[in-house]
């Protein structure tokens, strides 16, 4: 029997689209299935400051829909809530062709060499599942370079004194620095810190047939007016489609990975709106790659139960869905007596990696940087001191006098994962297709909070040294972390007992089922994760293509 495709990829996000392109370019027939829709600037570029992937109080602009996609959240005290995608605790990233990469901030960090060997460097704190990656920085370095060159990164190739060895320089010069960087640079120098312009997946000059960034004031959370922001939807997807070997199927949800009586993966079942009616059908392939993002990938494996796999695929050792992590993001704000606001987006212009490792008394650390230009509504919701009244003249004065005088420093903390931070299936609540929804439970390991508190103080010091006359922020507390940087739920490893896949993302016990997305990360680095997700996809996609 001729199978429908050589390879089915579930999820057209950061990793899945790269896999589809590499496999299609190797001459294989690929079906790329995405539950979300295709977005464009013309149709979806509207700046709704209250409904977007950065401020979602009233909804999202890059999916999923408010109705029909609930999750169940279990609080540390055991109480349960059913939440919709825009409500607190849902831990959304996106649902669209390109996923978060259509609207992201595009910070493009390589992890540091020690990020791949956390257990060796720090030991494994009791109760945590801190571990080394099965591969090291040197294994991934060539693929970081492929991601930087082929998706398109702009940065300062030599400014980061802690970075691992790199080959080629970034293909584009970094974003320009302005007033905010000047103030923070002075503070960094006073403290003896190394600082530099952070790398971004943004065209700072025209490249690959698309224009340069026009510096709009609403980068993160929205599609780009000049198509200069490099997501997978405008870089790797066109490459995949240009081969003629890849078919994109948006607005289609994979509901199960299919297996035969022997337990071998044969394809997927999906539900799609076809001709106005909801149709369910099965598609066969020699290989299935799950790239649904850390939460939905775990869910799909757990949903794919059969007599041979009663607990779901790849879950013989109960590992699927565990070690859920993201990033604590300690943030401080500082008041300056002069105008320190930059008008030109994206806004992130200065960073340090001095505190990613080697901090006394804590495990790991994280990168610190200034923030994207804050939408006024976001400034209102996040940047006001706790003791400021939210009405009357004081509030209005703070907005009027403060918007251009307040800077923020923040950064992602390398999490110390816990096996109890978890994605499982809820036994009661179902989605619009009648499928059990995700149940989120547990918290990060308490060591993460200690490291985050340490980083909160470093951010505070940097802000004060830069001339801020008042510095404030909210201290980190113990909670579940996942969100837009969700990772870790199908960790790769050296042996089936403590992991879900081998170092190529191949699910243990299966020769034709792969995971490729942030689920694979054994730990999630002290950096925004997307360049690492992409680099792994370049590495694993080439391996898959050569094995088909």
């Amino acid at each position: 029997m001729r199978l429908d495709y050589d390879c089915i990829v579930v999820g057209a996000g950061a990793a899945g689209t790269i896999i589809a392109a590499l496999v299609a370019e190797a001459g294989k027939r690929v079906l790329l299935i995405e539950r979300g829709r295709e977005m464009s600037y013309a149709a979806d570029g509207r700046r709704d400051h209250l409904r977007n992937q950065r401020l979602s109080q009233h909804g999202h602009n890059a999916g999923p829909d408010i109705d029909g996609n609930p999750r169940v959240v279990v609080a540390p005290d055991g109480t349960e809530r059913v939440v919709r995608p825009h409500e607190p605790g849902y831990h959304n990233n996106a649902a669209a062709v390109g996923s978060g990469t259509v609207v992201y901030g595009a910070q493009a960090w390589r992890f540091l060499p020690d990020d791949f060997r956390m257990a060796s460097r720090y030991g494994t704190p009791q109760g945590s599942s801190l571990t080394d990656w099965p591969i090291g920085y040197a294994d991934l370095a060539p693929f970081y370079e492929q991601a930087e060159q082929q998706v398109g990164a702009a940065g300062d190739s030599h400014g980061n004194r802690h970075q691992g060895a790199r080959g080629a320089d970034y293909p584009m010069p970094p974003v320009p620095q302005h007033k905010s960087a000047a103030a923070l640079q002075q503070g960094a120098a006073a403290l003896g810190m190394n600082s530099f312009t952070p790398p971004l997946l943004i065209n700072t000059i025209p490249r690959a047939g698309r224009g340069a960034c026009i510096g709009c004031g609403s980068c993160v959370g929205f599609p780009c007016p000049s198509n200069a922001k490099n997501g997978t939807q405008n870089t790797m997807l066109p490459r995949a489609l240009a081969t003629g070997n890849c078919q994109l199927l948006p607005n289609a949800m994979v509901t199960a990975i299919d297996t035969d009586a022997s337990g071998k993966v044969t394809g997927v079942t999906l539900v799609a709106d076809e001709g106005g009616a909801r149709q369910s059908r099965s598609v066969t392939a020699r290989m299935v790659v799950v790239s649904g993002g850390a939460i939905e990938t775990a869910r799909l494996l757990l949903l794919s139960r059969s007599a041979m796999h009663p607990d779901g695929l790849g879950n013989a050792h109960g590992q699927v869905g565990r070690h859920l992590q993201g990033h604590y993001y300690p943030s401080v704000y500082g008041w300056f007596d002069q105008d320190v606001h930059d008008d030109e987006g994206p806004g992130v212009t200065i960073a340090t990696t001095d505190f990613n490792h080697g901090n006394d008394g804590v495990v790991g650390g994280g990168m610190l940087a200034d923030d994207f230009i804050m939408l006024p509504a976001i400034f209102w919701k996040s940047a006001l001191p706790a003791d400021l009244p939210r009405w009357g003249r004081p509030a209005k004065d703070f907005m009027r006098d403060g918007y251009r005088r307040v800077l923020s420093i923040k950064g992602p903390v390398h999490e110390i994962p816990s096996p109890d931070a978890r994605v499982s299936l809820d036994g009661r609540v179902t989605d619009r297709f009648g499928l059990p929804v995700v149940r989120l439970s547990g918290t990060t390991h308490p060591e993460t909070v200690r490291t985050a508190s340490f980083m909160f103080e470093r951010a505070h010091d940097w802000m004060a040294a830069s001339g801020a006359t008042r510095v404030w922020g909210r201290a980190p507390v113990l909670q579940l972390s996942a969100g837009q940087h969700q990772a870790g739920t199908c960790r790769m490893g050296d042996a089936p007992e403590g992991s879900v896949t081998d170092q190529w993302g191949r699910v243990w016990g299966h020769d034709n089922l792969f995971v490729s997305d942030a689920s694979l990360h054994p730990t999630n680095g002290g950096f925004n994760p997307v360049l690492t997700i992409m680099a792994l996809a370049f590495r694993n996609g080439a391996h898959m293509a050569s094995n088909l």
């Binding site: 570029g45 700046r47 510096g215 009357g392």
Partner: protein, 145 residues
């Protein structure tokens, strides 16, 4: 019936006016933020009920203390009564909605001509104007394209 003729609506408008008062720059009522707040309240029944109940308490207090409805008090008197309620959930929620509408994009109908952005010094720098590209269906009469 004219909405503003209802006593409770008059109280709501008076409170919104004190949440973001006019001074050298426009206040919430100048930018039409009350339209945004009303639209939100009409789609959030639970919140609306607690806001209307809270406003009724303000009117009772105004009657007891000053023998007048809240909307007829001086700004100083209004502020003094609001200060007594500023920790209440209904008031915090109302202040939050008012600020959302006032500082959001004009197409959310609470920030006419993006004047709050001019006040604070935020530049959108979008080729199509403050709302970005607007599908025709989303445009309200009077929106800049």
């Amino acid at each position: 019936m004219d909405d503003t003729a209802k006593p409770a609506t008059a109280t709501l408008l008076a409170v919104i006016d004190r949440i973001i008062p006019a001074d050298q720059d426009p206040g919430a009522l100048d930018l039409g933020t009350d339209h945004y707040v009303m639209a939100q309240l009409s789609s959030q029944a639970g919140l609306a009920a607690s806001v209307w109940a809270g406003l009724a308490q303000l009117d009772d207090l105004a009657d007891t203390r000053f023998n007048a409805v809240f909307a007829k008090l001086t700004a100083e008197q209004q502020d003094a009564l609001i200060a007594l309620h500023q920790q209440a959930d209904w008031f915090a929620a109302l202040a939050e909605l008012t600020a959302e509408g006032f500082y959001a994009d004009p197409a959310n109908s609470g920030n006419r001509d993006a004047l709050s952005w001019r006040m604070i010094g935020y530049q959108h720098r979008l080729p199509e104007g403050p709302n970005g590209p607007m599908p025709k269906a989303d445009m309200e009469p009077g929106d800049a394209p």
